[in-house]
Assembly symmetry: C2
Homo-oligomer: 159 residues x 2
């Protein structure tokens, strides 16, 4: 489990936006490469093959976020099985241990918590108040927002 | 090859630090998981096994940066070979195609270019003016700097 640094990051420049809905930064579920927990390893590999993402969320058929699996998790599992891929791909994804499950954020989370979260994981799965997976927010998207925010501040100062 | 967005990101709040040495953000070579280009796939796997990094730099024995390999690159190569890992690990790392070589930054690069670079790749290999690999700068480190910078600006405004 990820241990978050609990020292709050207070950024008054951004505080006006502290009630900003973090969903502005969301990559919605339909655009996310994701796996269902009942997949075989083969189905998982085919799903991630074209995405090029090193880690992807796993969800239940009923929509809840389950955890995160990395390409490395899959590779080490197949390697340690001693099987070749053709054989290993028939095994269930459930068998594969997760090296690190990305910690989910509630859709109602504030920007400060999103920033803290982005310091410790490359993407945050976002869930609604029923625990249903609704998408992810990437560290790249957060960095992009901070750059835009700083540009805007600079523009307003000049004006 | 990475195609950089050439629209410059001007961030006057940071412009005072535009001549800031980006080496402040460097994870030095001795702390980086890296591979030598003459490795076998087995040596590469053992090197990355404990790091948990989804992508690592490859360098020559003479010190030059060669490119980047991802865990996925290795996995797809082994999978397509039809071999099991015990067999595939004897093959040279050189055989494995790189899905994307992270673009290196010169140590003398300014902060603006570092920010642009961080928007398109998760880490930047850093080379000196002879092309020698001296370390990496991660997107996480850049994000951390921006957060600190904004906190400092806010503190100075209050004082």
């Amino acid at each position: 489990m990820v241990s978050l640094n609990r020292e709050r990051i207070h950024i008054p420049d951004v505080e006006k936006g502290i009630d900003m809905n973090i969903l502005l930064f969301l990559t919605p579920k339909k655009e996310v490469t994701l796996l269902y927990e009942d997949y075989t390893i083969g189905q998982a590999l085919r799903a991630i093959e074209n995405g090029g993402h090193p880690a992807v969320p796993i969800i239940r058929r009923s929509g809840e976020y389950v955890g995160t699996i990395t390409v490395g998790d899959l590779m080490w599992y197949v390697r340690e099985s001693g099987l070749n891929f053709a054989e290993a791909e028939k095994l269930p994804l459930r068998n594969v241990p997760h090296s690190r499950d990305n910690q989910p954020l509630l859709a109602s989370t504030d920007l400060t918590e999103l920033l803290e979260n982005s310091m410790v994981q490359n993407f945050a799965p976002v869930v609604d108040d029923r625990g249903m997976f609704i998408g992810i927010i990437t560290r790249k998207r957060v960095l992009s927002h901070l750059c835009q925010e700083m540009k805007l501040q600079a523009f307003l100062k000049r004006a």
